[in-house]
Amino acid sequence: MSSSSVEYQKKELPAKVQTVGFGLFIAGLFLVVLGYIVDPTRSAYNNIIGFTFLASIAVGSLFLVGIEYLSGAVWSTPFRRVSEFLSSLIVLLPVLFIPLLLNVNNIFHWTHPAPSDKTLIGKAPYLNVNFFIGRVLVFWLIWLLFYYLFTKNSLMQDQTKDQNLTKKNVKLAAVFMPLFAITISFAAIDWLMSIEPHWFSTIFGVYYFSGTVLAALAAATIIIVLLNERGYFVKGIHTDSYYSLGALLFAFTNFWAYIAFSQFLLIWYANLPEETFWFLQRWEGSWIAASIGLIVVRFVVPYFGLLSQPSKMNPKRLLVMSSWILFAHYYDLYWLVMPNFSKGGVALGWIELGFPLLIAGLIILVFVYNSRKNNLVPIGDPKLKRGIDFRL
């Protein structure tokens, strides 16, 4: 079973896709710019939702690539390029971070603690603007480095068909995993938890990680199902590969629920005012509906939607559920961030619409750009043939 027996005919994506992506991007950009003119603070809060959402997909995709190499999985090899393309969004992360940096004083009130606020003054050695920017830079450079190395080796393999490149990437993945664990945890603490700097939860890094993997998986699943049904990958890919994607989505949905509930249960049980206020904020006014809705949107619907075996193999169902999960991740981030902006009630308006459109357009454009330059299937990968033959 040599990899040369795989026949792959590269097909260009239709021009329509790029037009749609461009349209979304422009519409999103218009709304974002307008939003920043009308209400900079609210836009900055939306900015951080959008930024962490994009980072979820970008870095989560890199994690999926790494975990495939590290575990020696074969079923996902025909689709690995999708995650590789999505992880190239890491390059664009500063685009959404720079407007955030300009508004850093509006969002993060640890940047200017009140003199009477002993807690924040005590946290100042960690939570100060210079160190914050330094950390972001370090995270970004680590991710960029591994993105560059992984994809360089993978793309080179298309030409050389050198099996040693896979071995190299396996070693890289082993180095990347602990670094990923540390950077994603600190990123979650820096970008999301420090919006409410008086609050702390030791499980918060894992919480963001679970959402990150879900978002990356869901984004990849949408693209995989759409392209595979139209024959953009190699022939002979079985619905059993869909099953694996569905099973991972299902598993991480449960994992998210497990982590989210663990976070809630301990805080609820201990009943310490310095921890409970964070949940109480999300229990005020119309936020109570949003909080209960989070359980339904993020856990109940995907859980029952993906529970049975046939539903994980049905491309239509999978497409619907993965789009839903992607939406649920945005919802989750909104729920984490926005109660700090509009206390006492949900704030929803056209300003909230800008960043999702912008990001959707960005993802489509980046994917199209990558798919023009490179093969959609890693044709040089020694695991490819086994990946196509994968059966449950």
């Binding site: 059993d240 509930f261 809630f264 249960l265 049980y269 009943n271 075996q309 059966r391 449950l392």
Partner: protein
């Protein structure tokens, strides 16, 4: 020796691909009563054998749901109905605390039920024998070979044609498997008298030996873990404290629950000046005062406080409480008398609580006013 009956023909393969292929061929050939035996679950075998989706999932679902419901009901009964205990100020029925328990019970009951249901489906429990057990074939397919077994029950079964079929798909070691006629009847009695007697004898032997060894030979106390504790008991000598007392003195100024110290000991006049009656005159307080007065005061002071003792001169009669002196005393002064006693009258602080003493004083005031009513009282 019982009669042997043909059960099936078996064939062995070396690789999983071959046996999957063999299963496909068996389906093609129209066999319905056959089985594939492999050392581990094979991907794609369900499809090759054309099996319908497993029904085990429904068992897991049903039992899992009843497990969840059972856990919820028992938690609700235990912690909200039968024995409510306040834990950290949470409501008695606090659902978040139940979720981990419900989750565990659901998983546990669903998994146990799945295994049991599997045993029922596969072995038709209580039947636990299978003709393929204890054959060479089973030894091989449970270590590193893959086998197919076509059963004699199959409508298309015919010894020579099955042999030919197995040869045609290149099976190795084609063998016939027989079983006893008795076993084919499938009526295994689980409550056989012999078996029950055996169980009973084993139970008696084991519990008897355990009892004799632990109680008679080793003289062990059963379950005495909580009787021996390394804590300090009352009256015990202590090695920790310098003075050697195990029991510690309460901190200076400690007062017992429900007890208020009396500040005016030996100073009844001061009490008359400083103490204020905290009990408002009401029907209830007067009734209480009357009851207590009739019990504790009236034997000497008389029912109407006129000093007309019912003790027939065994003690000197107390003075009347209607005197000018007592009527002009403050409530606190009377309180001091009741609390500390006066002349021959003993203290009543052990008989009457503080509130009862004030109620008695209210009642005495009512008696005094009844004898010295003013015109305004008539209105």
């Amino acid at each position: 020796m019982s009669k042997k009956v043909l059960y099936s023909y078996t064939g062995i393969f070396d690789t999983p691909d071959e046996v999957t292929h063999a299963a496909e061929k068996a389906v093609e050939h129209g066999y319905t009563k056959y089985d594939v035996n492999t050392p581990y679950p094979l991907h794609g075998m369900n499809k090759a054998m054309n099996l319908p989706p497993s029904k085990l999932g429904y068992v897991a679902l049903a039992v899992g749901l009843s497990g969840a419901l059972g856990a919820l009901l028992s938690l609700w009964w235990v912690s909200a109905v039968d024995y409510p205990i306040n834990v950290g100020g949470k409501p008695f029925f606090s659902f978040p605390a139940y979720i981990p328990v419900i989750f565990e019970v659901t998983v546990l009951s669903a998994s146990i039920a799945t295994v049991l249901a599997m045993l029922f489906f596969f072995f038709k429990f209580p039947n636990n024998a299978h003709p393929l057990h204890a054959t060479d074939y089973m030894k091989k397919v449970s270590s590193d070979k893959y086998g197919i077994s076509i059963q004699a029950e199959d409508p298309k079964f015919d010894e020579s044609s099955v042999k030919n079929f197995l040869e045609s798909i290149r099976a190795k070691e084609i063998n016939a498997v027989y079983w006893d006629e008795e076993e084919t009847a499938h009526n295994h009695k689980i409550l056989e008298p012999k078996f029950l007697t055996f169980l009973f004898v084993v139970a008696v032997l084991i519990s008897g030996t355990t009892y004799f060894t632990l109680n008679k030979l080793m003289n062990m106390l059963p379950f005495n873990w909580m009787m021996e504790q390394s804590k300090q008991s009352a009256q015990q000598k202590s090695l920790v404290f310098e003075d050697g007392f195990g029991m510690r003195q309460p901190v200076n100024g400690t007062i017992a629950r429900g007890f208020l110290p009396y500040e005016f000991k030996g100073k009844p006049d001061l009490a008359g000046e400083k103490l204020v009656n905290p009990i408002l005159v009401s029907k209830e307080s007067l009734k209480l005062g009357q009851a207590k007065y009739d019990i504790y005061c009236s034997p000497c002071h008389g029912y109407h406080a006129e000093g007309d003792s019912r003790l027939r001169g065994q003690f000197p009669n107390p003075p009347s409480l209607h005197s000018e002196k007592v009527r002009t005393w403050g409530d606190g002064r009377i309180f001091a008398v009741i609390t500390e006693g006066q002349n021959i009258m003993p203290s009543h602080s052990t008989q009457l609580t503080v509130d009862e003493r004030w109620a008695v004083i209210n009642y005495i005031r009512a008696l005094q006013r009844a004898l010295n009513a003013k015109e305004s009282d008539l209105k």
